[in-house]
Symmetry: C2
DNA sequence: ACATTTAATGTAAGCCCTTACATTTTTGAC
DNA sequence: GTCAAAAATGTAAGGGCTTACATTAAATGT
């Protein structure tokens, strides 16, 4: 059942059928109705491939994310997919992994699918890796508009939406110091742009409150909970009265550490997670966390995308403020 | 840059170029090498649309899941995507939501994409909804092979891979009764086929151990943790000395309930979750759980799919055993 | 060296749409 | 009732690939 069959049945030309399919204003309502009826009757749906060939687009956007099994990214992908679908776009998903080369391959492969736009969920590398990630992202941007969620590079055709990680971390650490905390541990799990921004906020807040930035208080550990707990237990001489983490899993590890050490939370140690995930409410005591408002980020990204795809100008960087969610691991 | 350009540059016909692209054995290695070199040089990649038109396939499989932001499904999707990619297939993701009509729409829409196969992650409805879900799944199966992960219907073209929820639940409840537990609460969060199987295992184990099946001990609550905790706190007259749940979130709720009530776990109450998610290790005390070996399920599904797509016969139902993961909320 | 397979390549007919341009029909002004 | 302008429809040329079939080149046998 193709366009010719429908044209024949409806007694019109294929051009007219095509116009009906695309709801072109150049067809009288009368014929539109008639052709539509016939399409329904015969369960006709246009062949997407032929359509793609003609239009050079299949209303599809690519989503690359390092790992959808990660809670935070899964939430983003879920929202993005639903949202894009309301605009009539399908999503091709690519879980790239975290390695640089894998990401490059992902971009290369997904571009072959002639997607209309590309969404990169999860941050690009900061510091040393920055230049490299700029390169492959720029490569993609030469073909289609690219949208970074929680990442930032400056490049034509790349649009970035990020939560204001710097600011919230700055504010949070200030609040901790004002509450009298002096030795604040910073737990982080990646070298992404977002994590770097969080660290920047942490360090500047310390400086502005006349506290020293101690490198031994900045701990990198990408495995969550148990690994973090054990890691902290090992470092016997390490003293701290507060923890801020770049992810809830890390913070829960700190809570487990405190329990094992016989320290009470929040009295002895204040602990603050990030992302406000289900782990935060699962944790005992329930974990104070920072909500990065991922749905808002995603919504903003999708809105921007629709603007760009419709030829409207869009700002290349948009920042969304985070908010602190007080639970029981803090006492300010 | 299209196939004609390459043909011209290589001094061969487009047919030959096409054969090189498809690695046909009908081309001499010499020309293959030459043509490949030229394709590389010119960054040629075949147009997927034209390709799809000709082959009527784009090496794409559809994945429909109610909600990727769910931990368990996210894990499955991540694994499926990675695994399918190694076979050269891309994935179109559709998060349908849990409503019947939404699932029907999802199937309808995703079929228009001329996918090569369809993966349904997350269970179909059991009981009343069973017939209905059979209908739309059968509809899909008329167009492409369909693979259900953790669901079961009997229908031509539908291949089911499920964990042995009945058996593990039966065994677990037996173990609890043997450890002297008499009033075992069954917490469930959906009316899916999987949940129904779990309940069947639960009830039969009770019967086989001469314990009554009390309907007041079967509690349905789809919201996790806090909602479950509060729900249990409300039911003041409800007594139980063990809990089995169809999901870790529910079980964590039960743990929170016990803590609030001043009951100790596992002494006063044994609690067992399902899915062995991150919540289980986050929970305090760490939650014993059942691992449904979702990766194994997914692997089996993908293997089956490749068999089917290559025209080999495959069993319509495959069952994967689960395994119990002992942590600190049980004492047997 | 010549006939006969077999391997390698080429030709051309689809696959099913979109759309610029050409043609026909309708509308409205006079 | 004309005629010009506007609206509706049709014609036909792609778009880039696959593949059956036709053709030519290479390999094998005698």
């Amino acid at each position: 059942m193709n366009i010719y069959d429908i044209a024949e049945l409806a007694g019109v030309s294929i051009a007219t059928v095509s116009r009906v399919v695309n709801d072109s204003p150049k067809v009288s309502e009368k014929t539109k109705a008639r052709v539509r009826a016939i399409m329904e009757e015969n369960h006709y749906t246009p062949n997407v491939f032929a359509r793609g060939l003609g239009l050079n687009s299949m209303k599809t956007v690519g989503i690359i994310c390092p790992d959808v099994s990660d809670d935070y990214m899964a939430g983003s992908v879920a929202y993005l997919e639903k949202s894009l679908r309301t605009y009539g776009y399908d999503c091709i998903l690519y879980c790239s992994g975290y390695q640089y080369q894998d990401k490059v391959n992902a971009v290369e492969l997904i571009l072959q699918k002639r997607i209309d736009a590309l969404l990169l969920v999860g941050s690009n590398y900061a510091g040393d890796g920055e230049e490299a990630s700029t390169k492959y992202i720029a490569r993609a941007a030469r073909e289609v508009p690219v949208f970074l969620i929680n990442g930032y590079i400056h490049c034509k055709g790349v649009y970035c939406v990020l939560s204001d990680n710097y600011q919230i971390m700055y504010d949070t650490v200030c609040a901790l110091t004002e509450a009298g905390r002096k030795r604040i541990l910073f737990l982080y799990d990646s070298n992404s742009y977002s994590a770097a921004e969080k660290m920047r906020g942490y360090e500047e807040a310390l400086r502005d409150n006349d506290l020293p930035v101690r490198k031994e208080l900045e701990i990198f550990e990408e495995n969550k909970i148990l690994k973090v707990r054990d890691r902290l237990l090992e470092q016997e001489d390490l003293e701290f009265d507060a923890v801020v983490a770049t992810d809830d899993g890390l913070a829960v590890g700190a809570v487990k550490y405190a329990r094992q050490k016989g320290l009470s939370v929040p009295e002895d140690i204040n602990i603050i997670g990030f992302n406000n995930s289900e782990l935060a409410v699962c944790c005992e005591p329930e974990l104070s966390s920072i909500d990065s408002r991922s749905e808002m980020l995603c919504k903003t990204a999708v809105d921007s995308m629709m603007m760009v795809l419709n030829g409207h100008p869009v700002r290349h960087k948009k920042t969304i403020p985070c908010c602190f969610v007080k639970r029981r691991t803090t006492n300010f």
